[in-house]
Each structure stands twice: as structure tokens, then as C-alpha cells.
Point group: C2
Chain length 505, copies 2
Amino acid sequence: MTQAGDVPSLGAYQRLTARFARIATLDEAAGMLGWDAAAMMPAGGAAARGDQLAVLAGMSHRMLTAPEVAGDLAEAEAGRPALDAWQGANLALMRHAHTRAAAVPDTLVEAMALASSRCEQVWREARRTADFKLVAPLLREVLERVRAQAAALAPALGLAPYDALMDGYQPGIGSADMAPLFAAYERFLRDALPKVEARQAAGPQPVPPQGPFPADVQARVCRQLAARVGLEADHVRIDSSQHPFCGGTPTDVRITTRYDEQDFSKALLSVLHESGHGLYERDLPEAWARQPVGAAAGMGVHESQSLIVEMQACRTDAFLSWLGGELRPLFGGPDAAYRGENLGRLWRHVARSFIRIDADEMTYPAHVILRFRLEQALIAGDLAVEDLPAAWNEGMRELLGITPPDDARGCLQDIHWYSGEFGYFPSYSLGAMAAAQLMAAARRAVTGLEEALGQGDLGPLRAWLREKVHRQASRYGFQELLRQATGKPLDVQDFLDHLTTRYLV
Amino acid sequence: MTQAGDVPSLGAYQRLTARFARIATLDEAAGMLGWDAAAMMPAGGAAARGDQLAVLAGMSHRMLTAPEVAGDLAEAEAGRPALDAWQGANLALMRHAHTRAAAVPDTLVEAMALASSRCEQVWREARRTADFKLVAPLLREVLERVRAQAAALAPALGLAPYDALMDGYQPGIGSADMAPLFAAYERFLRDALPKVEARQAAGPQPVPPQGPFPADVQARVCRQLAARVGLEADHVRIDSSQHPFCGGTPTDVRITTRYDEQDFSKALLSVLHESGHGLYERDLPEAWARQPVGAAAGMGVHESQSLIVEMQACRTDAFLSWLGGELRPLFGGPDAAYRGENLGRLWRHVARSFIRIDADEMTYPAHVILRFRLEQALIAGDLAVEDLPAAWNEGMRELLGITPPDDARGCLQDIHWYSGEFGYFPSYSLGAMAAAQLMAAARRAVTGLEEALGQGDLGPLRAWLREKVHRQASRYGFQELLRQATGKPLDVQDFLDHLTTRYLV
């Protein structure tokens, strides 16, 4: 905080840094309560928690849109020449946050929160019973409000409506940036997927290690893996929740996972993934804590940090060989199941599948492309909610050549739309592509990176990421961050090269 | 909330109920984060958590002292004839909360928070090393600020300075109420304690059950006991922390305890105690949730609800016989150790001891009297901080005839003063006395209460407490609540009769 406010003559900028620090601190409190709701809270606490989060969100929004903020922003912008690069970027991000918040009327924010919380609840039941009709009217309501929100944001941001929504998750990237990346990937996949399937069928089959694998032993391994990634025990907890996620704050990282005593894959791999998210937060610059410029650079960049750990570093032969050697004495069973090449066959298995979150890294972007197209059509008004299931299934046939047997394995599988999140999905693929590009650059820049992975040591990779990504926080936009780190803006070729090397060579 | 705001013509009262509901919701968020800090948070999160709690406390205080509140209070008070009894009590409590908050300037609130947080940290080290001198200067600072706070509150509340502090923990009870209660107890103790000690020495000695007692089995028993007390699994969690406490909200009770694998007493008894607190919160009237009149009636009443469960109900022969029968098959070992009379000898053992929180119910008030006298003298300026250790030891000799071997077992043992809490201690004894009085009334009113306890069933007691205490929330002051429930205001005689019956007959 000292550095952020270090411009004695600029009263308006200082007032803004104080205000944004308070907003961020409130948001931290809300974030912790969100983690608690998923990992700790008894079911009976849900209604009260909803109220608590609504009050905190309302206060945060009011602090951001208070009448004096506009004046302070204008005054600080007039004094901009006196600001250094970090302060200037901070001020621009304040303006951006204010523009987004002020563009959407309070009544719409509340109507949105209400509609999506109602829809989310019904969605759980609809997914359980694979009954899209149950939730369709509520999704229609949510969609109407999201479209209103997009229409309000678009002119304020100078973006198309769908891009204005994307901007809320990964600023600086629009649908026009995604289209050529996805087109290149689709061409690649059409050719590569049958080849990979043929190789897999012809090659040796994976041997799954035999359980049971006690949850407490898995939990111990998870803590050790998080430490390997770089998270200190004093600054992280690992608990259970229905879906793994990483929450908390930079000094208090909260990771969740799920333990299956018949299969340790999910717990271990998800902790590696979430530890990548956690490490990014841990390594953000303390001097800019709670300032917009000190925050992570968007959901796409965040996903790149989880995927570079989980997919790029930890699914290498080198790391898996080390990991298998660690696991075998803990879990017992035949040596062959724990050899690096067997774990690789298990954890790098490619398959056309229905569920995005279980998809392999090669077919994953196809799942994203489907959603990206459909949500653009929904926002544009070109696709009606009642036509969504058919459009979904048609898209799956086109992209992966398979037809979901029901909507639970189709358009009901993800919570995003039902909770009002449109424009989020592209971040997953931005992350996968950026991770490959960053890993390629790290391999060029860091000697001994692969050897270190072979000893379970992510230190050299972390040091490079820390300097090139984590410590830069939101100083640069997405493309400039990548350019500074890798010498070029986002380029899908590194991702395709990675897939080729890993699955086809 | 519906009921609270159900007076269409009274705009000011409605605005106040909305404001107090928001304040209470914010305070719930802070309470949850406080629980998390004690039960979950990794050490590295402490600084950020301090900031989060400070921001929430500041917002809550500002909402309570905002300029428009005084006008709304005056307007609502002018319309008071239209309010029903609950609404009238609610309005009076709003006025009281506002008076307390507005009397103390923001600068003093912040100086107080700063001084006590610094002092608390040094106190931990001072207690560890039994070095009072280390923390004395910081305690002096805290005391100066508490005295300023008391001086500011006194004229606003029309109370003496120390009583104005007591009012912050248990409204409606002042030092003049305590003095005769404590005098009667002291006379009783002087006579009774040697007799009890002689009986104990002459009677059979307790046989401690032989461990180890696995923590997970203890945890299972704790969950079952909390359910017996009346807490539904959907509305409670039990976790570990350094000191047991009960936090959370009425629908989301968070109990903590500590597991010692050599001795299950601490975990089980503390969960019974904290479950009594939790049950009070669970049973508060939903219609008045988040309104001042819907909150618990003070720390003294709260303590009466934990002690009536732990001390009055669950340390009876009837309940202990049932409990022993449940525990023996779980923990194994000789039958004799689990008989009700043996558990009684273990858990109703009276001894002159140095540490308040480990004291038995007979000598506990002596520990409180000591602190009550010393803190009055400190607030009045009649005792200097540097003279505290000597005064403490002198008081222990006078009250219990023992001299602490060091200050860790003397004036450094409790966190209260070092964190700025003066006037809190009497609540512990108010609770013990009120618990005895309520139990005596419940025994008169509820047939089959004792038989139910013999079957591990607290249902009949709970039903009576729910009607007489829990559902009344803060509708009445301390004395009127007791009068309605038991037919008389607080009377130490029931407590002394309880001690006589349990320890001397």
C-alpha cells in the first residue's frame, strides 16, 4: 500500500487508492465467505450466507459508484503526467472498473443477482433429472437480464455486447481475437484427433493403480504437492468441496479438492491445477496489494497459471516419473502402475467425451468452442433458449462427432449460464493457449527446467513465471503481458505444437 | 424480518429496521471471519484478516452513527404509541446501541483497536514467559483508552464509568447489583469450601478412564452430544481451536473444542457448554432475526444457557450415568471408570486452583470476584498497572488462600484486559447464578425433567428454556427476563442451594 499512495501532491489519486483498497478488502471478506459456503458451511446456513454476500456486494458496488469517485477520477487523470507507469496503469484500471460498475443500474444488478440465484437452484434439480424444460423459463429470465447488462456495458466500453461481457472475465480479448485461434485449432483437431486415437488404440494400454487409496494419505500427498508447486504451509489450506477450486487471498490461499478412495487422480491433479492458481495469487506484488493494478490480469491469465503447472509441467514424462516413484511406497501395488509412462498413458489419454471438466487437453477447446458459439448466438438473440438443447447436440456432432445421450451430459452440465456467466468460457482456452506459449518461452529461457521437473522441482519454472507473469500483475493487458514474457502476442501455434509433440511424435 | 417492519405508517421505524438488519448482516460476516481466524486460517493470513475485520467493523460503526440515524430515532420515538411491545423494545434497543456508538469518538475507537491489538500480541509472549513487565506499558496504554471510553459513555448512559463498561456486555446489571450477590457467595464459600474438601478427601477417589481416546471417536461423540442438546446437523459444525468457543449465526452455529487423546473430558464438556450457547442462538425468534430485540439478551444470559446445559443438566448423576453407558463401549476399559458416580467425582471435583477457566463451579466465582474488584480499581484509577501482580496475588490469598507461583498463573492468564475488555468478567458469575435459578424453576415446572436427563434427553429442559428464555430474546432486560421465567429477579440463593445440594448433602 505504501508504494500505491506515494504521490503526496496527488490528493485525488490517493483518495482513490484508499477507496479501492477498502473495496478490495471487502471483496476479500466476501471471497472468504464464498469459500466457506463451498467448503465448510452446513446446508442450513445458506440463506443467511446469501444475505451476507448480497450486503457485501452491494456495499462494494456502492463504494465503487459513489458520487465522489467520478470527480476524483477526472482530477487524478488531469494529474496523470506525475504518475509513474504502475500508478498510471492503476488509475486506468480504476477508470475501467468504475465505467463497468456505473454503466449498469443498481436495479439491474439486483434483478440479475435474484434471477441467477433462483435459476441456479432450479438448475441443480434440472441437471440431476436431465430435464432442461424445468429450468428453461428461468434461464430465459437470466438471459434477458444478461442481454440488458451487455447492452448497457457495450456503449460505455466501446465494445460489442458479447465482447463487453468477455471483458468482465478477461479484459483486452474479444470474440474477434478468439475466432482465428479457434479456427486454426479446429483444422488441427480434425486432422490430429483420429491419428491420436489410432496411436492410442495400437499402443500399450494404461494400467490403473489398484486402490483403495486412503483419503488421509491422499490429503498428505496433496499438501506435499502444493508445497512442491511453491505454496508455503503457513499460507494455504486444502479442504474438500463438491468441485475443486482456489479461493482466498494472496496470503491465505484456500484450495479445495475431492478425494475418491478408488482413484487418486482427481485429487492430485486438481490440487496441482489449483496450486497454480494459488501460486499466482501468492506471488502478486505486495506493494500493490488491494489495488487494481496489483490484481491478477484476468481469468484467462489465471487459467494459464493453473494449466502451466498441471498440464504443461506436471504431466510431462519427467515429472510423472518422479511422482510415480513418490506414490508407489505410499499406496503400494505393482511397480508398473506407478511408472511415469503408465501414469502418462492414464493422465494424457485423449477421448471424445461429453463433459467439459473431464475432457483431455486436446479435445477441451472443442467444448469451449461449442459454448462460445452458442453463447454469442444467445446474446445476439439469434438462438432461443428453447432451441439450446438441439443446437448443443448438433454442435457436439459437428465438433467431436458424438451426440449427448441426455441434456445432463449436454447443455445442462455447466453452471455458468444458469448463474449468469456469459463470456467466461473463452478464458479456459485462452489459458490453455497462453500456458503452452509461456512454457515454450520458459523452456528456451531457463536451463535445467526439464531436469528439475524430473526431480519434482518446480522451482526454476516458478522463478521464471514469478518474474514474467506473477510480479507483473495487471500492469499490462493480456497481449502485452504475453509479448513481454514470450516475445509475441497470443499465438495458437505453441499450443498446437505442444499437442503435436505430446500426442503425435 | 417481515414482522419487524410491519408498521406501514412508520417510515422512520422501518428505515431503522432496514438499517439495523444490514448492520447485523455485516456483523454476521465479521463473526464468521472471526471463527475462521480461530478455527481454519493459516497463520500467514492474520494480517489480511485483521484488515478485513477492521473494515467491516468500521462500516458497521459508521452505519450505526450515520447522521440520519438520530433523526430517524427521534421520529420513530415520536410515533412510539403505534408500536407493539416487541417493536417498542426494539426501538429502545436501537436508541441504546446508537447512544453507545455515538458517545465514543471514531478516533478513540480506532486508538482503542490499535492499542489492544498491539497489547494482545505482546501479551501472548508475556504469558508464555510469565513476564508481566513486558506487557505492562502496553496494558497501561489500553487502560488509558478504556478509561477514556468509560468516561465518554458514562454521561451518555447515565451510569458510573465502570457500569457503563459492564453495560456493554450485560445491559441492565451494574456493580451495585453484583456486590451483594458476591458478598453472600463469599460468606458461603468461606464456610463450605473446607467442608467440601474434607468430604472429598474422605470419600472414594475418582478413577480416570484409561486412554488413548482417538480424536475421531471423540469428535463423533461430540457431534452426538450437540445433537442431544438440540443442535441439528444441518445447522452446526464442530471444529478445533486453541480455546473452545461458539460462533456463527442462528442458522449456522460454529462450535470449536480441543481433542486430547489422553483425556476426553475437555472435548466433551466444552462441546456441551458451547452447545448451550449454540442452542440459544438457534432458538432466537426468526421473525426478529437481525433486529436488536431479536438478539441474545447479553453475555450473562448467554453464559446462563451454556452453564445450564453443561453444569446444571449434564453434570447431574442422572445424565452422567447415561453418558458413561454410552462412552464405555466406544472407548473400552473397566466399567467402573464409566459409572455415573465416578464421572461425577471426576467432573465435580472441587479444588482451590490458579486458573479460572479450569476452575470448578464452586470456586469459579471467587476467580471472578478477584477480577471484578481489580478492574473496578483500575478503571477508577485506584490501582496502577505496575501494582497489578501484587494486588492479584494478595486477592488470591484472601479469596482462596493460595498464592500464584508466577504471573502466568496470576494476572497474565486471561486475555480480556489485554484486549481491552473491562467489565466482562461479572457475566460469567451472572450466568452461573442465573443458570441455577432457571434450573430450579425448570425442575418445579417440568415434570419428568430428571428422568429425561437419565435417558440423555435434554428435550424437556430445552422446550422450557426455549419458551422462557430463547424465544424472549432481548424483549426484556436481564432482571425482568428472570422474573418472567422464575418469578423473581436474580437471587444468589438458588446458586448456593445448588452448590449445597450437589457438594454438601
